[in-house]
Amino acid sequence: MLADDMACNARNEYPAQVFNNENHKLNLYGDNVEVDYRGYEVTVENFLRVLTGRHENAVPRSKRLLSDEGSHILLYMTGHGGDEFLKFQDAEELQSHDLADAVKQMKEKRRFKELMIMVDTCQAATLFNQLQSPGVLAIGSSLKGENSYSHHLDSDIGVSVVDRFTYYTLAFFERLNIYDNASLNSLFRSYDPKLLMSTAYYRTDLYQPHLVEVPVTNFFGSVMETIHTNSAYKAFSSKTSNSKINSEMPLNQLSEDDELQKANIPNDELKTEKQKCPYTQMRVDLQEKLEKLENVDTVVNLSIAVMFIVVMVSSSLL
């Protein structure tokens, strides 16, 4: 969910582009970035609807959180915030008890197995004060009473481009490659309070596994759990006949079709009863006759010619 208030701001010299660094090397709105909720759709209500899954029927699948009881979810929130709230669009607030309530409903409906919440705002740790559901891990960029600061200012655009907590998180991931088995503990230990100018506080009382044993790919990197398929199910190889696609339909299929047709017979009887009306019968007969004719066009042409002759004859007689 991106409010796009900076990317689409009238005063942005680089419209629809957001950079992570003042050297403008990486446009975060790259080719493959998929944003499902943008602009005015980013509201507290939509956010809670996404979490709890209560959408209108017409909402497409791309705008839903399609998780199930084995999913690991990463929830990352940033913006302005304060004591037990987070600001949405400069107009609304998300309260910590609303978030805790949504997470509780998610857990009751088994919409996740593990949930990680990362919050980068001022007094971020207060936002997950009221959480009580098991399986949730939360980290905030600052404690109550502390502010979170931005990293550096882009003098070209005139605003700061990235916050400190986010910057150091990205720096941690840039140092990893695909086969490193870094643990969440190393991620959390990499935050230096002196560099962040605030204390990154995390709560693990609701999360059972030890952080040293949990790889970061549990939440980051869109990595799937896989099971190898040992063997094929040889349903067709046991038959010595021809390939099934080219063969005739097997007998048992035919008999099942017969059964279906027997079920359809009562409907046919109803139809024949309706057709006993003489007028419709006549029309149907006429239609059938017409359909049987090979060349309807010549008949029509002939009849037009005959009509013309009749008209000429009758008008000359008068």
Binding site: N32, E45, P60, T226, H228, T229, A232, Y233, A235, K244
Partner: protein
């Protein structure tokens, strides 16, 4: 009154003629009621308006049957659902006549294997044994209900076994036991055949058929009685009750049915680099001939629909390395979690699936020319026979290498995958589909006692496997339905000012009805009917719970309602009430004054 002089010395001068008049404590005229009437009428009109105000801020809440929901959830928690199964063991070519002894031995064997607490969806079985001696005379256990299903002596001959294909044996056994499938009680049979020592082999062969029967063939089986009894109980418990898996219950990770009871199978053929070669498939024929039986077989469990697409320019995101020995590119099982490239593979583009259906993605990946042939190497060094893997609740991927890896330097030809290759791919897909439902993809079961060959069915699942699926899914659906309904009732009760629409009330009512129907069908032994009504119960409960109007953010508490209306009414009401009280007090005072004046006048 006398003049002012009188007021100077009132008490001494005016005694005798007129009683003293103290304006502070007396008044000469009766106090009027007009002032009191005006103020109390204003107060009264305010009080009259209170019920109208109350009605206007009342919210509509459709009455939910909380009591029924609680009783359903208690029922499901306390008594795990069990289905009636009939087990029948036939021993052919055995000389003993003590059927009851065998029956108790087999029963002990079964009880040993199911010694854990009864799981939801398991069988409450009744066992009967028939022994047919070589002279084709039978002895049966007592107490077995004589129904049309009972085995007619002599129908199974030991000569039928051991010759010909297993499929023909299966069909002939089906003719013997087919009278039972018409009944609602499902009968599972195991036939143990003791052949005369024909070719001196000591081998015992055990096969589980496609319907609901299995057979064990061997020679000299009567001597190995205990072994036979344990194998028979193993077939009953491990195969017919648990479906060939080792655990008793299926985890939620292997029940990929969406909450509206639908599954969408989405097949994608991925041409990773169409500049090298382009492959296409005739999916319509695949669907009609090979997939239709599977979707029909699973109809009680889920409403399955199939769709397909062909995609181009879809590289994978993991890496592979060239292996000189195998002359092919190798990727390992450690690469599998990174194989699916969610950025470039636009798989979930189904327009037909509604929000709550489950989509299972089946991907056939054709590698590019720079990575052909691409083989999967298992941790023990072997090469995978299927080149495929699944991800639970997501789907499966098969890597299919084109037969000829030489690239054409001219423009790529469009090829169609040949029907033989299609059959192989669909066989792997069926194995993956079974894995996604918690079954094994291979058609063999190995235990300490021996191996059992399982005959594969072209419907993807044998009938006894479908029975296991129906039982487990009924259980899961009912459990899910009851937890959803109790969460809903807790939520509704916690927000007293939330509007509950009629639609939600209706859905809850029908869901409870379907759940009761499923429970009664289960107790009667109708596996597929209980599976479909439990699926309906779950889908209605989920529709009610996920109704978009139940958002706590939109509704406010009683305190909020009070806080909104009090600035309008509280100041005015305070003034009116105070005025009425003041007038009432004044009236009483004046009345008291008047009464004292009257008593003074009387005594004077």
């Amino acid at each position: 009154m006398e003049g002012t002089s009188g007021s100077l010395n009132p008490t001494t001068d005016t005694s005798g003629i007129m009683p003293e008049f103290d304006p502070k404590t007396m008044r000469s005229s009766k106090p009027g009621l007009k002032r009191l009437f005006i103020t109390t009428s204003v107060l009264f009109s305010f009080l009259l308006g209170v019920p109208f105000l109350w009605k206007s801020v009342e919210i509509y809440r459709s009455p939910l049957p909380f009591h029924d929901i609680d009783s359903l959830s208690d029922q499901i928690e306390s008594t795990p659902l069990r289905f009636p199964c009939n087990f029948h063991a036939v021993f052919v070519g055995f000389r003993s006549t003590d059927a009851d002894n065998l029956r108790s031995q087999i029963q002990d064997g079964i009880n040993q294997l199911t010694h854990l607490s009864p799981q939801c969806g398991s069988c409450s079985f009744s066992l009967s044994v028939t022994i047919q001696n070589p002279a084709e005379q039978c002895s049966e256990t007592l107490g077995h209900n004589p129904s049309s299903c009972s085995y007619r002596c002599g129908m199974i001959k030991s000569n039928d076994f051991g010759v010909g294909l297993d499929d023909t044996v299966d069909e002939s056994l089906n003719d013997v036991f087919s009278g039972c499938s018409a009944n609602s009680r499902k009968m599972y049979s195991v036939v143990v055949v003791n052949k005369e020592n024909a070719n001196g082999e000591d081998e015992v062969k055990a096969v589980v058929g496609k319907r609901r029967h299995a057979w064990i063939v061997g020679s000299g089986l009567e001597e190995r009685n205990d072994d036979m009894v344990s194998r028979v109980s193993e077939i009953f418990v491990k195969m017919f009750m648990n479906g060939g898996r080792d655990e008793d219950s299926i985890h939620g990770e292997f029940m990929p049915v969406g909450s509206d009871g639908r599954i969408v199978l989405s097949f994608s053929l991925l041409n990773s680099n169409p500049r090298d070669w382009v492959y296409d498939w005739d999916f319509q024929r695949i669907d009609d001939a090979l997939l239709a039986p599977v979707t029909k077989a699973l109809a009680p469990i889920a409403n399955i629909s199939v769709e397909s697409q062909v995609l181009y320019h879809t590289p994978k995101s993991s890496f592979s390395s060239w292996d000189e020995q195998l002359q092919s590119y190798i990727f390992r099982t450690s690469d599998l979690p990174f194989f699916v490239n969610s950025n470039e593979w636009h798989l979930d583009t189904s327009a037909g699936a509604s929000g709550r259906s489950k989509i299972l993605q089946f991907v056939v990946y054709i590698p590019s020319g720079s990575e052909c042939p691409l083989l999967l190497q298992l941790p023990n060094g072997e090469i995978s026979k299927t080149n495929g893997f699944i991800s639970p609740m997501w789907g499966g991927v098969i890597v299919w290498n084109p037969g000829n890896c030489d690239k054409d330097s001219e423009s790529p030809i469009r090829n169609t995958i040949s029907p033989q290759d299609i059959e192989q791919i669909v066989e792997i897909f069926l194995g993956q589909f079974r894995q996604l439902f918690g079954f094994k993809s291979e058609a063999i079961y190995t235990s300490v006692l021996g191996t059992y060959k399982i005959l594969p069915s072209e419907r993807g699942f044998t009938e006894w496997e479908l029975d296991v699926l129906s039982r487990k899914h009924t259980c899961f659906n009912l459990h899910s339905c009851s937890t959803t309904l109790s969460s809903l009732s807790k939520l509704v009760r916690s927000l007293p000012r939330m509007i509950i629409k009629d639609e939600i009330g209706e859905q809850v009512k029908y869901s409870l009805k379907a759940a009761k129907l499923a429970q009664s069908n289960a107790s009667l032994g109708g596996y597929s009917s209980s599976a479909s009504s439990s699926r309906e119960a779950r889908s209605l409960a989920e529709n009610a719970f996920f109704h978009p109007s139940i958002m706590s953010v939109s509704y406010f508490s009683y305190e909020h309602c009070f806080a909104v209306y009090s600035p309008f009414f509280l100041p005015v009401v305070a003034h009116v009430v105070l005025a009425a009280l003041r007038e009432w007090k004044r009236y009483r005072q004046e009345k008291a004054k008047y009464l004292t004046w009257l008593t003074r006048k009387k005594t004077a």
